[in-house]
């Protein structure tokens, strides 16, 4: 494994399109070649060497390349776009569209990320130690293709609309989530280990959402099916008990919503409707 270390020279004042930063683009290149890669900062095209101090060496292929980035990158967007292999470690926060269209490899962020992290993900692993913004692993506005594979783990909280139009893969949120978890979801699984906002699973047509904490209410277009003792998310067994809701019946009702029973006593009235 060869490591290449990028350190931010001075803080970013205008947005930086950092889609060039990925193991696929760095692999097999010398330090000079890497520092002369072009990218956009605001409306100006500059080289990577103007923004970052670059040390270390890149591996011969993406698989053997680890990119470590130091500094506050909350204004740098599209880091790791379309990466297929290798590893990116960000010591600091990352901006919008982190790991857009990621196909493989690992991105670890020791900080927070902006909105649309993992948009269009098809594989790989994104691990976020801090909080995630809105539209985590969701589809871009208007598009109907969300996450198609891979895994995203958020150790902090995630904001609104996690996993919109998601088709496959797994999202695990260790903290709280905002409203509209799994909106228009079509497949895959979302686990929220703590509380979440209202309208979870709105418009969902498939897949499963597991909520271990408190949820203020369930949408009226969902129907309770039964109480389950446990549920599996990506092979891990999580014990409950859980209310199992089917929905969203506005869209056909093939999705499953698992809600922790003990944390949600206000949903007890649903029990009388269990068929």
């Amino acid at each position: 494994m060869a490591e290449i270390i990028l350190t931010l020279k001075h803080s970013l004042k205008v947005p930086l399109d950092a889609s060039i930063i990925s193991p696929d683009n760095f692999a097999g290149k010398s330090i000079n070649e890497i520092s002369s890669l072009k990218l956009w900062r605001g409306n100006k095209q500059i080289t990577l060497g103007e923004v970052f101090d670059i040390k270390g060496e890149a591996g011969s292929n993406a698989n053997e390349t680890v990119i470590t980035i130091n500094g506050d990158l909350s204004k740098a967007r599209r880091i790791g776009k379309g990466m297929s292999n290798g590893k990116i470690v960000i010591n600091g926060s990352a901006g919008l569209y982190l790991g857009e269209d990621i196909r493989g490899g690992v991105i670890t962020v020791n900080g927070d990320v902006g909105s649309w992290a993992g948009v269009g993900a098809k594989g790989g692993l994104i691990e976020i130690m801090g909080n995630a913004g809105d539209f985590l692993a969701s589809s871009y506005r208007g598009a109907r293709s969300g996450m198609e594979g891979g895994m995203i783990i958020v150790h902090g909280n995630a904001a609104n609309e996690v996993g919109g139009w998601m088709k496959n893969g797994t999202i695990k949120i260790m903290g709280n989530a905002g409203i509209f978890v799994g909106a228009n979801m079509q497949g895959g699984s979302i686990l929220v280990s703590n509380d979440c906002g209202v309208r979870a699973g709105a418009g969902m047509r498939g897949g499963r959402i597991v909520i271990l904490g408190y949820i203020p209410s369930i949408l009226p277009s969902f129907r309770i099916e039964e109480i389950r003792a446990s549920v599996k998310v990506n092979g891990d067994k999580i014990s409950g008990p859980f209310y199992l809701f089917n929905g969203d019946f506005a869209e056909g009702g093939k999705g499953n919503l698992f809600i922790n029973v003990t944390k949600n006593p206000h949903l007890k009235r649903y029990e009388q409707y269990i068929p």
Partner: protein
């Protein structure tokens, strides 16, 4: 400045030049027969193809519905971002590119003239705003009349001269070029939530049939001596079994024709050539259509080829978009333009493994291959309805190479292959015919005398493609064809080199042209006074706020014709 294009392999069908090696000379913005060679800038075009600049007959590039499409499809813009360069502006958009990017992409493909085919008169100020914003190409706009209340009233009352005067008034004041007819009568009916099947049912409140509207406007077109025939998108678009309506539409104006002059252009006929009775039994009816077109000289058609990609359908045919939305469940836009038209937008993803889409793909190519006379069939994708115009090189390669078609045919569902005849067609276009269906024939049918050819006196709009017919065989090396036509080696616009090696090197502003048909003074003044009354009764705007002033256009270019009234 003088330019000399040396030793190019020239295809100029309007002057019967088929692949001769010759020089083209340019002085100022015109092609000339001789120049002072010592002072001229020389372009070495040896082993390259030289053609007139491309002309696109039917491409939705501007207008209110294109803009609504841009708003509806944010993701379409996000996935295709274009950075600025030293000479060009930034932009975005895949199936509905922003205005500047539209101009650049056309110029890069060697196109220099583009027609926007459907705009309601009420929205023409916005249309010209956007046309002004499209660089690199000459452009024009077709105006919709097929569902206009005033037109329908005049035709119902049999006042054909008054109708012609009104249309001349609109074309002149609103700066349009062609009478475009979309779904005649049906859109008025659609505004009441109804549908008209066939051409012989009367339109609610107007007592006129779609057939009468088409015939009436065809007569008007003749009276006004407009350069292009009526441009018809006929009824029942995209409905299985609609080929009968298409033939009926072409046939209903047959007895108005004289001297075998084209007097009806049927547009995106691919969407109108479906056999079968429902989607499950959909089949190709191109045999019947092509047979009719081959036998009747008064008709021209364009393909409306579809491409397997994610695109946006947008048409003034609002009722069809309603049906399409019911079919796909996609988000949509539908709108009513007061007095004049309706419109709709639905995104669509044409997929190779979808049986219906694969049949549609084959139908478009069959039309171009089965119509024998290339002067009467033109290449379009009905951008963006069939696919973005950036796929034209691919369509050219399918037309030029059976091998390229077979490569796609192998990968479409077997049932689609069985329901179409594309497999059995061996015809392959040559470069001469390609030059006809992409520039010469279109310029001719548009009545643009200075476009589409390279004789002295023509506009110096030239495309040079890096393809050597002596080295490559387009039938076998179809990938080379796609490469060459995607990025012109040179595009010359009005005598200036604007594109070199597929990159814009000089942004220019093109002309906006329209037609002014001169009618008698008396008729003109009587129609102008009666319009005040009609506007007061029907419109929410007054006549004064309706017209587009001439100084609104960056490069106005009126084309005068003499009307027969």
């Amino acid at each position: 400045m003088a330019l000399l294009i040396k030793n190019g392999i020239v295809y100029d069908p309007l002057n019967n030049i088929n692949g001769e090696v010759m020089d083209i000379m340019i002085d100022g913005n015109k092609i000339v027969s001789s120049i002072n060679e010592s002072k001229a800038q020389v372009i070495d075009a040896s082993n390259k193809i030289v053609m007139a600049g491309g002309v696109d007959l039917h491409s939705h590039i501007v207008g209110p519905k294109v803009n609504s499409g841009r708003i509806l499809r944010v993701e379409d813009h996000y996935k295709d971002l274009v950075a600025k360069t030293r000479f060009t502006r930034s932009g975005s958009g895949y199936s509905i590119p922003s205005t500047f990017v539209t101009g650049y992409r056309y110029a890069i493909m060697g196109y220099t003239t583009v027609c926007e085919p459907a705009n309601p008169p009420l929205k023409m100020i916005a249309v010209h705003d956007e046309l002004n914003d499209i660089p690199m190409i000459d452009k024009t706009s077709f105006i919709l009349f097929g569902n206009n209340w005033i037109v329908m009233e005049y035709l119902k009352e049999g006042k054909i001269k008054e109708c012609a005067a009104f249309i001349a008034w609109v074309l002149k004041r609103m700066k349009g070029y062609v009478i475009k007819i979309v779904d005649p009568g049906c859109e008025e009916e659609w505004k009441w939530g109804n549908d008209i099947e066939g051409l012989d049912k009367e339109v609610n409140n107007f007592g006129i049939t779609p057939k009468e509207i088409i015939r009436g406007l065809c007569e008007v077109n003749k009276l006004l001596s407009l350069p292009h025939p009526i441009h018809v998108h006929t009824n029942m678009l995209g409905t299985p079994g609609n080929y009968r309506i298409t033939i009926e539409t072409m046939d209903c104006v047959k007895n108005i024709a004289n001297n075998n002059q084209p007097l009806i252009h049927m547009t995106h006929v691919q969407f109108h050539s479906y056999g079968g009775s429902n989607w499950a039994s959909l089949s190709s009816a191109t045999d019947e259509i092509a047979d009719y077109v081959n036998k009747n000289k008064h008709v021209t058609i364009d393909m409306g080829q579809i491409i397997f990609t994610d695109t946006t359908t947008m048409t003034a045919d609002g009722s069809f978009e309603y049906k399409l939305q019911k079919l796909t469940g996609e988000r949509w836009v539908n709108s009513d333009v007061e007095v004049e038209e309706s419109a709709g937008i639905v995104p669509i993803h044409y997929r190779r493994n979808n049986y219906v889409h694969a049949v549609m793909w084959a139908i478009g190519l069959e039309l171009a291959l089965l119509v024998n006379d290339p002067w009467r069939v033109f290449m379009t994708t009905d951008h963006p309805n069939g696919g973005p115009f950036t796929y034209y090189p691919k369509v050219i390669s399918w037309l030029m190479s059976k091998k390229a078609r077979e490569r796609v045919l192998k990968r479409i569902p077997r049932m689609s292959r069985r329901r179409t005849n594309l497999e059995d067609i061996d015809r392959e276009y040559n470069f001469y015919e390609i030059a006809i269906i992409t520039r010469a024939g279109i310029a001719k049918i548009l009545g643009l005398k200075n476009k589409g050819h390279l004789a002295p006196g023509a506009d110096a709009d030239i495309a040079i493609y890096d393809f050597n017919p002596k080295q490559y065989d387009p039938s076998r090396d179809y990938k080379e064809v796609v490469r060459a036509f995607s990025k012109a080696a040179y595009t010359i616009k009005d005598g200036e080199i604007v594109v070199k090696d597929g990159e814009i090197i000089k942004p220019v502003i093109g002309k906006t042209f329209w037609v002014e048909s001169e009618i008698s003074r008396d008729l003109e003044s009587s129609i102008a006074s009666s319009l005040n009354e009609k506007f007061r009764d029907y419109y929410t705007v007054s006549v004064d706020n309706y017209v587009v002033p001439k100084d609104y256009l960056y490069k106005p270019w009126p084309i005068q014709v003499k009307a027969k009234i």
